[in-house]
Structure formats: C-alpha cells, structure tokens
C-alpha cells in the first residue's frame, strides 16, 4: 500500500487528540479501526496531511447499559465486541443481528461501531440500526461535549455533522419502552460484501401492541434511508398479516434504490419489502409463542 505522505500521531489522551485536530484545521483525520480509512488511503481517495490514531486513548473500548437500560458504545468498541456481546441479544435484538453481518470476521476484530457511523457510508449497516433505534452520537471538541441525534448526524454520503476538531466518543441508544423486538436482514453477494439491500427494524412492544416502530435501510439510496415515518403505520397496532404487509409496503416505498449490476430498483425494493415482512413475521410468531 502506497498512500500519499502523511504525518502520524497517536495521542494518549482525548484532550491531546482534540488539540491536534484543532491545530491542524481540517487537514487531520481520525483513525479508529481503519477499516474504511485505510482502504481510502490506499486508493488515495483520501490524502489527509495528518492521521490522529485514537487507538491509544484510554477507556473508550466499552459498551454498557445505564441503570435505565440506555446502551452506551464507546469509540473503540469493535464490531466483534458487539457480535459476542451478552448484553445485546435480549435488549437490542436489532444490533445483535446486525453485528454478525458486518463485513467479515477479520474486519470485525478491528472496525468500530462509532467509526462506521462516522464514516456515513450509504451502505454501512450500523448507521441504519442507529436510525431505526433513534440513537445519538456524543461528540467532544475544544468547546466541550455535545450530543447529535442520529437523524441529524449523517449529512450525506460520507459526510457527518462533526466539526473538524470534534471526535465522536460514544454512541447512545435509548432502551425500549416495554419489550424490545427487532431484526436485521441483509442481502450480500458474499461475506464481507456491502449490502445490496439491508433493513433494520426496531419495535417497542407493550403486550402484542407496537408502541414505537423504527426502520432504516442501507444500500438502497444515496445515504442511509430513514424509514421511521413509514414504519409508524404499525404504531398502536398488533402484528397481523395485514399490518405487516402495510409496513412492508410503506418501508419499500421509502427506499430510493438505483439500478446497477447488483439488481434493478424494483428488485431492490422487493427485497426490502420481503425483509421487512420476514423480520416482522418472525417477531409476530415469537409473540405468539410467548403468549
């Protein structure tokens, strides 16, 4: 790999990292897991003057629950940590299912959740789960800390709302009110492939009634597609064949796919609708068994 020349820092504290970013006025880039940045450097799609490697920052490799059930994912929590997490399966099924579908096992050992969200790749899986779950990003900069709602965080393909001198230190995902249900399905051509289409679904349920319904998609638009509004047709309803069909239809309509060599747009829409149906049908049958 022969990237353009760059300077390299590996600060030991967050304050120092922020100071370096601040001093370099937009010419420096944060390196987390490197699984998106390094390929871009290699292809010379990115040629920052300075790399600020945050891997030596202490205390950022966690994911944990607050007493109220809120999930906090630190900037150095790897995909793999989430894949093998014991916290996620019950409380955050959407994340638990997505974790095993990110890239391949090798990449999962290094890539980070927060880095993936920052990268704002329209095909990135975590951003879709964050939108469906109504998460937010905690940013630290010279002026201190601020929180950015996920729906405001991704500004477009590969652009996020962070200022050049800010670091995303944590992702915060609120706990479900009631029972957490959800799922993640992805169509890929092989392990490690980005999504041709993928769908995140996250429901809060009270008994068999849906109280909050979130959905988002990757791979079917120029950016992560927020389908929360489409999904809201489910709120106040139970999961029946009819309500599921209505939700699938609404979410598919929110998709904005392009025809390319992975399939035409009708096919991709059809996949979205199929995936929504499958996730919801599975939830419905789980509910039935529980009842």
């Amino acid at each position: 790999m022969y990237p353009s020349r760059f300077a390299y820092d590996a600060p030991k504290s967050l304050a120092e990292a922020i100071a370096i970013l601040d001093r370099n006025g937009g010419e420096a880039k944060v390196l987390a897991g490197g699984q998106s940045l390094v390929p871009m450097l290699k292809l010379r799609f990115a040629a920052p003057e300075r790399i600020v490697d945050i891997n030596a920052l202490p205390g950022l490799d966690y994911h944990r629950l607050d007493p109220d059930g809120t999930l906090r994912i630190g900037a150095l929590c790897r995909h793999e940590d989430l894949e093998y997490s014991t916290i996620l399966p019950g409380a955050f099924p959407t994340l638990a299912e997505a974790a095993a579908l990110i890239a391949d096992p090798i990449i999962r050992t290094r890539g980070t959740f927060v880095g993936s969200v920052c990268h704002a790749d329209p095909q990135g899986d975590w951003a879709a789960t964050m939108i469906a779950l109504g998460g937010r990003i905690v940013a630290m900069g010279p002026k201190g800390r601020r929180e950015i709602e996920m729906r405001d965080f991704v500004l477009g393909p590969f652009t996020n709302a962070l200022a050049y001198n800010e670091i995303a230190v944590e992702a915060v995902i609120p706990a479900a009110r009631g029972t957490a249900r959800g799922g993640y399905l992805k169509l890929e051509r092989r392990v490690g492939d980005f999504a041709t289409a993928s769908v995140a679904v996250a429901l809060d349920m009270s008994g068999d009634t849906v109280t909050r319904a979130g959905a988002a998609m990757a791979g079917v638009g120029g950016r992560t597609i927020d389908a929360n509004e489409a999904m809201s047709v489910l709120v106040g309803k139970t999961l029946t064949e009819e309500s599921i069909a209505a939700a699938a239809k609404a979410v598919a309509a929110a998709a904005d796919p392009r025809t390319d060599h992975r399939g035409d747009l009708e096919y991709k829409r059809h996949i979205v609708s199929t995936f929504v149906t499958r996730i919801l049908t599975k939830i419905a049958s789980t509910e039935q068994k529980a009842a």
């Binding site: 022969y2 010379r44 169509l187 051509r189 392009r258 992975r262 399939g263 996949i271």
Partner: protein, 792 residues
C-alpha cells in the same frame, strides 16, 4: 525386504506438503521479498479511459519530484523499438501507448524512483491529454461495420475481427440435423473472469553492465519461454539472460503471458544500470492482465427421440480485448474449444469460431484450464442439460445413453482427439448414488411445500490435459515437451530440477514422491527445485495441467535412467552380471538370493567412490519427455441446490465430485486441487465476473467488486475417486489441476436452472446473482449477462 512405499513417501502417500513449512511460517520468498542493493522502484501510469487518442503527454512535473530517476513514455520505448511487443498469439501489444489507448488500465507511462511512494506521487504529476473515442465493450458492438476501428495500428486491419476459425465436418453435421427429431438450442455467454492470484504480477530487472548479464526475478509460470522471448524481443544473447521465478503466490494462467511491466522494468534497468522493481497493485492486476473466458455460444444439438445425439453445432464468438494475447498452442485460434463433447459419442460435429477486438484488457489466458477447455466443457454440459429437457428425458439417463462406453477406447472424437481410457458410466453412477438421485423427486416435492425450489445439476466431462505432444502443440514455435534433471549425491540424497514451475500445486512434494517410487530413495531425501533458467533444464512451464502429465513423466523417466545406471554399479558391487540383478523398491539383489543385495544408496556411494571400469563416474542424468498423447481425466460433478423464490438466493445443499485422474501420486494434494477448483467454479457460478459499463469502465477492479469466495460461503464437497490409469503415462497419472474449475461451473448452473425448469427458464448467465435468478423466476425468461452493465 523391499521398502514400504508409503513409509518412504512414495506413490499414494498423502505426504504433507514440504513447501508449506515455509509458507505457513511466512518464510516464502516471493518476488516482492527480494531486495537488491541499490534497487529502484517503478510505478505504471494507466489510462483512465477505454478508447482515446493521446494528444500529448507532459512528464516535466514528474521529473521534478525529488527521488525520481527516470520517466518513460511510449516515445522513449519507441526510440528503442520497444513500444510494441509480440504476443503469444502472433499479434502485437503496446508496451507503453504511443498513438492511442485501447482499454481502461492500459500502460501509458512509467516512473522509476528511489521508493515506491515517490514513484506513485510522480505518476500523478504526469499530464496526459486524451481525445476520447467511441468505446466497444462486447463483440456484438465490434461486429457492427460502423464501429470504430480499434486496431488502426495494424496495416491490413479493416474491421475489428481477430480471426475466423472452423473445424469439423459441416456436410455430415448438416445431414445429421436434417435427420433430427428434435433440435435443441442454447444461447449463452461465459463471462470474463480473472484468475486473480493472491500475489499480483511483478518483476525485478537487474542488468549488470560490467558482465552484460540480465537477471530478472519475475512472477512467471513459464520462465524458459520468457527467456526465449526476451532474447528475441530485446535482442540479448540468451545465455546472458537469467529468469528466476521464485515462490509464486498462485498463477492460474495469469502468469503465463509476458506483460508490459516486465519489459519496461528491463529497459529501465538497462538505462539506469540499477535493479528496478515493479510490483503491480491489485487493481493493476485485475484491469490489465490476462483474463479468462468472455465467449458467447450458439449451440445446437440434433437429437433422435430415443435420446441419441446425432450431431452438434457450435458457433462461438469470443472477446479478446484490444490485443490478441491468448496464451495457447499456435495451431489453434480458440484454444482447445474443439475438445468439447469429447466424452460423448457423437457422429458429426462442426465448430465455427470468430474472435473480435474490443476496448477491454487483452488476455484470454487459460484460467485454470487447458486452453479454453473450461468454456468447451461448460457449453457442452449446458447444451446436454437443455437437450434432456427438450427431449423430456431424465438428464442422467440422457447422459448415460450418449457417454462413450468403456469398451469403445481408444475413441476418436468427431473433432479428431483420441481419448484413451475411462469408466464414465461408473463415475456417473457413483455420483448419482451419493447425491441421492433416486429419491430426489420426492425431496423436491417436499421442499415445494416449504416454499423452496430444489434442483440437481450434473456435469460430466473428460478434458484434454497435458499439452504436448510436440507434433501438435507449440507456443510461438517452441515445442511443448518437458524435462527433468536428477542428481543423486554420494550419500544417496538427491536434487531434482524440472522445466515446470510450481505455483501452489506442490511439486516440491509430489516430484520427490515419483523419485521415491522409482528409486526407493525416501522422498524427504530429495530436494526439488524449479524456476531458475540458469539451473533448471529447459521446459515449457506449468499451466494446462501439464506438469504431472509431462514434467512428472520426465521425472519418472530420468529416475529410470538413474536406476539403469545404478543397476550396472550394483552388478559390479555384487560381482554378478547385470542380467542376474533383480530390483525391488530401494535395492538390487541377486536373482534367486534376495539376501545378497545392495541399496540404491550403496550404489550412489559407489558411483563416486568405486566405479566399475568403463563406466562414467557420477549418478546424474536428465530426461526430456514428449508425451504420445494428452491425458484424459474424467469427472462427474453433481450439485443439489435450494432456491429461495422470494429473493433469488440459492444455496448448495450438497455437492458430490467423482474424479478419475488415473493413479494418484499424493491423494491429499489431489483432493486439495479438486476442492480449490470447485471453489473457483462456485465463484464463477455465483458471484464473479469482470464486466464493463458503456464507457468501458471495468467493474471488478478490486476485491470489493470482483468477489472471491471465502471459507464462509463456500459449500462443502464430498469427494469420490475412480482410478483408470493413463495407458501411456509412465506412472499412469492424468492431469487433475483443472478438472474441477473446468467441469464445476456447469454443475452449479445446471442445478439452479433445474430448480427453475418448470417456469420454462433454460438459461441464466453466470454469475447467477440473486437478482438474475429472481428475474428468471418472475419472468420465466432466460437472463443474459452481456456487458455493458450499469455501474454502481
């Protein structure tokens, strides 16, 4: 008292691969691991567009970059008559473009600098002004008389046609079709794929002006051919050229051609008088080096109601890219395409082939196949399956009726090949039994109730492996035989060298096993060395599954020469006449008195210390082997898939492979070759192609777009063996390196098409991505994968 052959690692021993000792420790020595004192680094600037006239090239800013030693363009090459070079198919190929660029990724300029970073920086400073021309990305466009002429550099070229070629008996075939009850037709495209060795191509040229010697470390499967070509092209004396092909990280045919990068690095070293290293990056490898396939087929079978095939017609249209650079025997324009249907008894056949230039990378290398045999067998098996459907006949039964029977050998095919051995029926039956063919219909019904579609695909084929013989096979005039040289040292240890070149096949292990089998010297006492033209005997290299059929035979023959000499020494040591000496593995003894004997090691010592009068000292020899015929392994691959009709996603439920490659030297290595080959077949069937958009942009220029399967999705394979020894090979072996890549794809495609058969679908072009399968299912129509495709 003969040795136990398995214990000394002889024939049939699943001996661990000795080369893996260094590979798994990261101690392999690939071209990029070689560092020479004072070495410079070269980077190639490639064309971003597929077809354009070069209006100007400004290299001044590149020269300014500190650390830059040399910048080369087509003009500098032309001044030394090196702007163009000959290809292996008697065409010419641009080394660095002078007039036009003819495909995206074509070499336009090169920078030689102190380090590879600087070379790359400086490349981006070269300004090239292009005037874009209309682009042709498939032969259908190329056939249009109004299409732009790609090869306007060639004096007599008035269209984009490369060649017309035909073989077979047209009149007899027409007559067969006139008698047919049913005519079955297929139209399909075998897409362009890329061998993608994990190590891309590269070279280090080291010209020493004081001695006049040119040493080139090079990623090549055929170092001796390269030496000859360099001697001819660069007009250097052949003895002053040394090509060293060190460890290779795979080849698969990709490392047979001679690439511009090699030639440029050689000139750069001559000009700078420093070693010059060029290591291609992944994208460079994918977009500019030898691809495989890219052939269209119109196939027809003339059928009788009772299931007999009366005749076969094939019309192939092949896409060769901008330069006709296929690596293939000179006599044949489309490789051994005419080996198609060799395992079936067909009275009449006719093949017409046309080749076309397009604005795509040149190549047409034998990607893990014996010169277009992959296409030949894929077409054959797709045609066979559809013929069975068109007759309304069971696909296994249809094959059974038409396969060549055991008592028909030697069998002359309609195109003139002579197949010599096999038990086709037995292999097929074994495979059908293993896959559970007799209960499949029931299984299919049950799956339908679950909303899934099941299909079974069969692929049976024999293929011609191991070119030569030299009567018919040559490359640029050099005859296709091979060689081995064996030196047995005083202590009974030995070194063996051959003209082949291992790239993962395990020659260092298996060649020693052949020597062990012939001489009883334990395999671990034999070092195997290949790839250095200063030390290895002349040979044509490794591709087309030719190593074991040709070089491996030479290893057996040279061992026998050594044994013949050792016998004379044994007679001397045992003080009897040579006629009274008997051989058993590892030793000679006196006939009638097994106790009185000497080992091969005793003879080796005597060869250097106690030579009988009149005998030359030493125990070494070489052998050149010109095979009397190709070898003809047979395979029956059977695949069972489940298709999800809602998404078009398909999964392999079971895959059975029955291979008959004659005698197996190292069964473990044979099985590894089969599993690897099936995985490549799966890749082509499911996910992999190098395709292009309307503008000639390559889609598949990196491993995110050109997909290699991982252990994750690769199906498991159940392997079975049948052994029919090759009648003419000294140890009865046949080629196996490529069978699975060749025969595998049709098994997967036939299985998916079988699952969709009820909809009327007869073909889905590879790769059978879910969207294509879904499209076929929902429309009931065939799906064509011809480029251009939409980028994205």
């Amino acid at each position: 008292m003969a040795l136990d052959e398995l214990k000394i690692g002889g024939m049939g021993a699943s001996r661990r691969r000795v080369e893996d000792n260094r590979f798994i420790r990261g101690k392999g020595r690939y071209v990029d691991d070689v560092v020479l004192p004072g070495m410079l680094h070269m980077e190639i600037l490639r064309s971003p567009v597929a077809h354009a006239r070069i209006k100007s090239i400004d290299t001044s800013a590149a020269w300014e970059v500190p650390g830059v030693r040399l910048v080369l363009t087509g003009e500098t090459m032309a001044a030394r008559n090196l702007a163009w070079m000959p290809t292996l198919s008697y065409d010419t190929q641009a080394v660095l473009a002078t007039d036009k660029v003819r495909f995206q990724g074509q070499e336009v300029a090169a920078v030689i600098a102190d380090d590879p970073y600087v070379a790359k920086d400086a490349c981006s400073k070269i300004v090239v002004e292009y005037e874009q021309l209309p682009v042709i990305v498939n032969p259908i466009q190329a056939q249009d008389p109004a299409s732009p002429l790609i090869r306007d550099d060639k004096a007599n070229q008035t269209s984009n046609k490369v060649f017309d070629w035909e073989i077979g008996d047209q009149a007899a075939t027409d007559a067969a079709f006139a008698q047919a009850d049913v005519i079955s037709e297929v139209d399909l495209h075998y897409p362009r794929s890329h061998p993608s060795p994990l190590e891309p191509c590269g070279s280090i040229a080291d010209y020493d002006r004081s001695t006049g010697k040119l040493t080139v470390y090079m990623t090549t499967q055929a170092p001796h051919i390269v030496r000859a070509a360099v001697a001819m092209v660069a007009e250097l004396p052949e003895q002053m050229i040394r090509i060293i092909s060190p460890d290779l990280g795979g080849g698969f045919g990709n490392k047979v051609p001679i690439y511009p990068g090699y030639v440029i690095s050689i000139l750069a070293s001559i000009l700078t008088e420093r070693p010059v290293k060029w290591i291609e990056d992944r994208t460079g490898n994918l977009i500019s080096t030898g691809f495989g396939r890219d052939v269209y087929l119109k196939g027809q079978l003339a059928l009788r109601k009772d299931g007999r095939i009366l005749g076969m017609r094939m019309h192939t249209v092949s896409d060769h890219g901008a330069f006709y650079a296929d690596a293939q025997p000179t006599k044949f324009k489309i490789g051994l395409m005419h080996s198609t249907f060799a395992c079936y008894d067909i009275p009449a056949a006719h093949l017409v082939s046309e080749g076309w230039y397009t604005n795509k990378a040149p190549g047409g290398v034998a990607y893990r196949c014996s010169f277009r045999v992959t296409e030949a067998m894929f077409f054959q098996e797709r045609m066979i399956q559809n013929a069975a459907y068109d007759l309304g006949m069971d696909q296994a039964e249809f094959r059974r009726i038409n396969l060549v029977k055991d008592d028909m050998f030697p069998y002359r095919t309609a195109f003139g090949f002579l197949t010599d051995s096999g038990q086709y029926q037995k292999c097929l039956d074994l495979g059908l039994e293993a896959i559970g063919y007799s209960t499949f219909k029931q299984e299919q019904e049950e799956a339908r109730k679950r909303g899934k579609l099941l299909g079974i695909g069969i692929s049976t084929m024999t293929e011609p492996l191991g070119a030569g013989n030299s009567r018919e096979y040559d490359i640029i005039g050099i005859k296709m035989f091979d060689s081995a040289e064996l030196r047995v040292h005083m202590t009974g240890k030995a070194i063996l060298r051959t003209g082949a070149k291992t790239q993962g096949q395990g020659h260092e292990t298996t060649w020693a096993q052949i020597v062990a089998h012939e001489l009883g010297i334990p395999a671990e006492d034999i070092t195997v060395e290949e790839g250095d033209t200063d030390t290895a005997p002349f040979g044509m290299g490794t591709y087309a599954s030719r190593s074991t059929p040709v070089a491996g035979a030479a290893v057996a023959m040279v061992s026998r020469k050594i044994r013949a000499k050792a016998r004379k020494i044994a007679a001397h040591l045992l003080e009897v006449s040579e006629e009274d000496i008997e051989w058993e593995l590892g030793r000679f003894y006196v006939r009638g008195n097994n106790e009185r004997g000497v080992t091969i090691q005793d003879c080796a010592l005597a060869a250097y210390s106690n030579v009988p009068d009149g005998l030359e000292p030493g125990l070494e020899n070489n052998a050149y082997y010109d095979p009397p015929n190709l070898t003809w392994p047979f395979a029956a691959y059977i695949c069972k898939v489940e298709v999800d009709p809602e998404t078009g996603v398909w999964d392999v439920l079971k895959f059975v492979a029955v291979d008959d490659c004659g005698v197996r030297i190292n069964p473990m290595i044979v099985e590894g070759q089969i599993m690897g080959g099936l995985t490549e077949a799966y890749a082509m069937a499911s996910m992999q192609y190098i395709t292009f958009d309307e503008e000639g942009n390559c889609i598949g220029a990196n491993f995110m777009d050109y997909l290699l399967p991982t252990a994750w999705e690769t199906p498991g394979y159940e392997l079975y063996e049948v052994v029919t020894p090759c009648p003419h090979h000294p140890i009865g072996a046949k080629g196996i390196g490529e069978c699975a890549t060749v025969g595998g794809p049709a098994a997967f495609v036939n299985a998916v098409v079988d699952a969709l058969q009820h909809t009327g679908v007869r073909n889905i072009d590879m790769p059978m991505m879910p969207n294509r399968v879904y499209q076929a299912l929902t429309t009931g129509k065939n799906v064509s994968g011809m480029p251009p495709v939409l980028a994205g």
